[in-house]
């Protein structure tokens, strides 16, 4: 009973990973791409880890997979913050459809939004 459940969770995880990769291609600028890749890939990989745990049970491999999943949840947002802050300070412009940029107004002296081409 537990084994099919593990496989189902693993395949859900793989599906979310693929969606994250599609988002990486389809979204227009660095910030939106980070959104897609961080969320989908974190939950996708976490799903794969939980699936491995369900398949293997309380063996060394299963426990290690579970611990990997927990650390992934803790560290992947931090990596995303670092990338995002780095690109903000580097001066990467935001997509032209962006509606508001409080960070640019407060810290960088003006909105960092790409101008519409005429």
């Amino acid at each position: 009973m537990i084994s099919p459940l593990g496989w189902i969770i693993i395949w859900i995880g793989v599906a979310f990973d693929i969606l994250g990769a599609i988002g990486l291609v389809r979204f227009p600028d660095v910030y939106n791409r980070l959104q897609a890749s961080t969320k989908c890939v974190t939950l996708g990989t976490f799903g794969i880890m939980v699936g491995i745990f369900l398949l293997k049970g309380f063996t060394p491999m299963g426990i290690k997979a579970l611990i990997c999943g927990a650390f992934l949840l803790l560290t992947s947002p931090v990596a995303a913050h670092a990338l995002m802050k780095g690109s903000l300070h580097f001066g990467t412009k935001m997509w032209k459809g962006t509606v508001v940029d409080k960070y640019g107004e407060d810290k960088l002296g003006g909105e960092q939004i790409e101008k519409e081409e005429k």
Partner: protein, 161 residues
Amino acid sequence: MRYIIYFIIGFCFWLLLTLSVNLDHLIAGVIVVLLGTIIFGGYFTDKPVKFLQLHRLFWFIIYIPFFIWYMFKANIDVAYRVLHPQRPIKPGIVKIRTTLKTNIAKVFLANSITLTPGTMTCEIDDDYLYIHWIWVQSSEIEEASKIIARDFEKFLRRIFE
């Protein structure tokens, strides 16, 4: 005191990783965890007593399924935006104010916001957080904080403060 608790937690992790009570493994574990304690123990929380208060642990355990449910919703949301032919996004960076005081609570709030629907933390500046939002519903500070952060703050205040 904080070094002792750090040592105990580190050693529990070591036991989980090796899953054996072999003497060699135990000795290696003690050496590694001692090194880690000496180097990183100083950065550990100021009030380690909080680890022994069981109601915090209780709220943390309730927080985990709540958080995973929000993460799942976030993924459905992103999947919808990715697969929709018109790609419905309206991004922007908004500013919100948090009522949490301790550093560790703010870190957990920022991480939770990053993994939940359409929002992602750019920077923490004292009480203010800058959030990249994939579908901006409001750029007012108070209203945005209410939509984004209130649910988590209720839990995190009980866990960490």
